[in-house]
């Protein structure tokens, strides 16, 4: 991912395969979600409740984290705290080294991507087995996820086939998606069963039991976390829910919003390491609670963003995401939620395009299961960017000139009358196809020729059409 946002967008828009691949997966997800929501009576009230549960937790986060920690420790887990991604990676690598780990099996975790764990493992010389099928695909292609639910959404079956044939010992011979999945099954099983450490994220942390909840449809979390002798969980501090009952409500919302299913195929709550007499499970369980900007978001007007349960509905329904895919956003998290999160995690200066490259159409907010006011939060970033002088000079000058004139109605009328006359000279028909300084518009579409006289001028003359 090189270059700036504009270069990444140009590359994405020039790639017809990307467009096709994104459309296939996001289009299917959108249709399935619609069916699931239509079948769920009172989904709007359920969204209110989900938002209220998260707000309740975020308002009382300190107490809930302490309660979670106490219960997890009582169950035999070790709880670690990390302020930054560096601290989090250092803790994980330290644990792996102390365990003498040569290989780790990783179950897809966006937090792991956020803190740069794949890179940290590579630097430490530890073999990483990505067990989610999509993460496996992008590990082979050396890419980053392009979607938080379908990280390899940008890949077509043909591209996956080439990767598997080049990397699997016993690859598929038949060019079907089922045969490719079977090839990955054969290839990955060995790595999962041989791993020294299993690493996962958390969909929820249950405060009153100390349990960590993971959800998958593939069952790869369980296969990655049960055989190794050590389990490491890296979780954002906002993942807390008070109890199992609250988790149930959030799970209903998560599955329907993500894939349209009533529930994920495998939903597991891990509480501590294996117990005396248990036939399987890890000897040690470590939980790393990661801040990485979350306490600052809570303080700086982005508390509502901490409601996010990473379902991906906002990006599946985003007209911009559907055109440019996830990689163009440049951060760990793409789409509307990424456009809010990435400036908070990676800084606004390098990411000011993200909150701006949005039509503010409100669809993301409409589908968000926890009612995050994404357009409002994106406007907030635009205001900060303006205040800090990060917006381009031409934009500032344009808005400034327009505002200066529009606050002086008489001058505005004279100036616009002159502009109308000038513009009308540019075309002989009712359409203008090339307007100086308006190339952004006329490069792709025609501009209706403005009126000969403005409404206000005609109205004043009492001239009715």
């Amino acid at each position: 991912m090189s270059g700036g946002f504009a270069e990444r967008v140009d590359a994405a828009l020039a790639d017809p395969i990307l467009k096709l691949a994104v459309e296939r997966t996001a289009g299917t997800a959108e249709a399935k979600r619609t069916l699931a929501i239509d079948a769920f009576a009172d989904f709007e009230a359920a969204r209110d409740r989900a938002a209220a549960i998260k707000d309740h937790v975020i308002a009382n986060l300190g107490g809930y984290l302490e309660r979670f920690e106490a219960n997890a420790v009582a169950a035999g887990a070790v709880v670690h705290w990390a302020r930054t991604s560096q601290e989090a990676c250092d803790i994980v690598i330290g644990l792996c080294k102390a365990a003498g780990a040569k290989s780790v099996a990783r179950s897809k975790s966006m937090l792991g991507e956020e803190i740069g764990l794949p890179h940290a493992l590579a630097e430490a010389g530890i073999t990483r087995v990505e067990t989610d099928l999509a993460e496996h695909i992008i590990q082979l292609s050396g890419e980053r996820p392009s979607h938080i639910i379908w990280p390899a959404m940008h890949k077509t079956r043909e591209q996956v086939s080439v990767l598997f044939k080049a990397n699997h010992r016993d690859p598929h011979t038949e060019e079907t998606i089922a045969a490719m999945a079977e090839s990955a099954r054969r290839h990955l099983r060995e790595g999962m069963l041989a791993a020294d450490v299993g690493i996962c994220g958390a969909n929820f942390l249950i405060a009153d039991t100390g349990a960590v909840c993971t959800v998958t449809n593939e069952g790869n979390a369980e296969l990655s976390l049960v055989p190794p002798r050590m389990q490491i969980v890296t979780a954002g501090i906002e993942k807390i829910v008070p109890s199992m009952g609250h988790a149930v409500h959030m799970l209903r919302m998560l599955a329907r919003s993500a894939t349209g299913a009533p529930l994920t195929q495998y939903t597991t709550f891990y509480t501590g390491p294996k117990r005396p007499g248990d036939r399987d499970g890890p000897e040690e369980m470590h939980i790393v609670l990661v801040d990485n900007g979350r306490t600052a978001m809570r303080e700086d007007g982005l508390a509502e963003m901490l409601r996010c349960i990473r379902c991906g509905a906002c990006m599946n329904h985003c007209v911009v995401f559907r055109q440019i895919g996830g990689h163009a956003y440049g951060g760990t998290y793409p789409g509307p939620m990424g456009a809010v999160l990435t400036p908070a995690i990676d800084g606004l200066a390098a990411n000011r395009d993200l909150p701006n490259a949005c039509t503010l159409n409100g669809k993301c907010q409409e589908v968000c299961p926890v009612r995050i006011p994404l357009p409002t939060l994106l406007r907030g970033w635009r205001e900060k960017s303006w205040r800090e002088g990060l917006e381009p000079k031409a934009t500032r000058a344009g808005i400034g000139l327009w505002a200066w004139a529009a606050r002086r109605p008489r001058l505005y009328r004279t100036a616009t009358a002159t502009a109308l006359t000038a513009l009308r000279l540019l075309g002989r028909t009712g359409w203008l196809s090339n307007v100086p300084l308006a190339g952004g518009w006329t490069r792709h579409r025609d501009l209706p020729k403005p009126a000969a006289e403005s409404f206000m001028a005609q109205y004043k003359k009492g001239q009715r059409q």
Binding site: V9, D10, V319, V320, Q323, I324, N356, A357, C358, T359, L360, N361, G362, K363, T376, R379, W381, E383, K384, S385, W386, R387, E391, T395, R396, I399, W402, A403, A406, R407, P409, Y412, T416, A419, L420, T429, G430, W431, S433, A438, G439, G440, W441, R443, H444, R445, D446, L447, P448, K449, P450, A451, E453, S454, F455, M456, Q458, Y459, K460, Q465
Partner: protein, 253 residues
């Protein structure tokens, strides 16, 4: 209603400069619906370009200016969902910190309406004796739809036009890619979005494209024209005022 409300028409900067016809159609429809229409002379823009560009201070200036200009009327009507939503939804938001202006912003918000919602819901009006034997398809502009709940109102009003057949538009609630300054800041993305929209409009098989926001209409009509589509575009209020037989957007009178 027995009393005649004194309604301020906030015409919007795009209608003022690009298509005054929508302003005159609005006056005609409002008068037919029993309103006394006033056009405050000092109006220019609602301030949305500043608001959406992050220039909060300028946006607040425009909000205060327009509140002072418009608060003396019984109601304020706007032939645009996004400009109406700026006054109705965003003025109170951005002036919430200002003890003097916040109540005034709330009061103005409560009596400001998008024109189609106003005609249908507030006035309970329907066009009478208006005929236009043709087919049309309707795009729901995002601000009107999601910030003001405008969906059924234009369809109820248009259904009262004799001979007009509304054809469904696939993805009618999907953004057209206009987004105010978005379309010139990120033209390539905007073009890609509007290309899908115009393909759906062509597939709807209607003669006319209707909507309630001139910005979105200019975007869609401009793309349709560039691509040689025969579909012609109007603001819905033009048809309601019996002006659907005149020049469409981009056609010379």
């Amino acid at each position: 209603m027995t009393t005649t409300p004194r309604v301020a028409l906030f015409v919007t900067c795009l209608v003022d400069l690009i298509r005054p016809r929508i302003g005159f159609a609005s006056i005609a429809a409002l008068e037919a619906a029993g309103c006394e229409v006033v056009v405050p002379e000092a109006q220019t823009c609602c301030g949305q370009p500043a608001l959406n560009s992050g220039d909060r201070k300028t946006a607040e200036d425009f909000a205060r200016r327009n509140i002072a200009l418009l608060e003396g009327y019984d109601q304020v009507v706007v032939p645009s969902g996004s400009c109406a939503a700026t006054i109705r939804v965003h003025y109170p938001e951005i002036l919430e910190h200002d003890a003097a202006w916040f109540p005034r912003a709330q009061a103005l918000a409560a009596k400001t309406f998008e024109i189609l919602a106003y005609l249908d819901e507030v006035r309970g009006w329907k066009p009478e004796g208006v005929a236009l034997p043709t087919t049309a398809t309707y795009h729901d502009s995002c601000s009107g739809l999601r910030e003001l709940g405008i969906k059924r109102q234009p369809r109820r009003l248009l259904a009262a036009i004799d001979g007009l057949e509304l054809k469904p538009l696939a993805g009618a609630e999907t953004c057209c890619g206009f987004g105010g300054t978005f379309c010139v800041k990120y033209p390539a993305i905007s073009n890609s979005i509007v290309g899908e929209k115009t393909a759906a409009i062509d597939a709807a098989g209607a003669d006319l494209l209707l909507a309630g926001d001139l910005g979105c209409l200019m975007n869609m009509a401009g793309k349709l024209h560039r691509d040689g589509s025969p579909v012609r575009a109007f603001h819905a209020v033009e048809l309601l005022a019996g002006m659907g037989d005149g020049p469409a957007i981009g056609e010379e009178a």
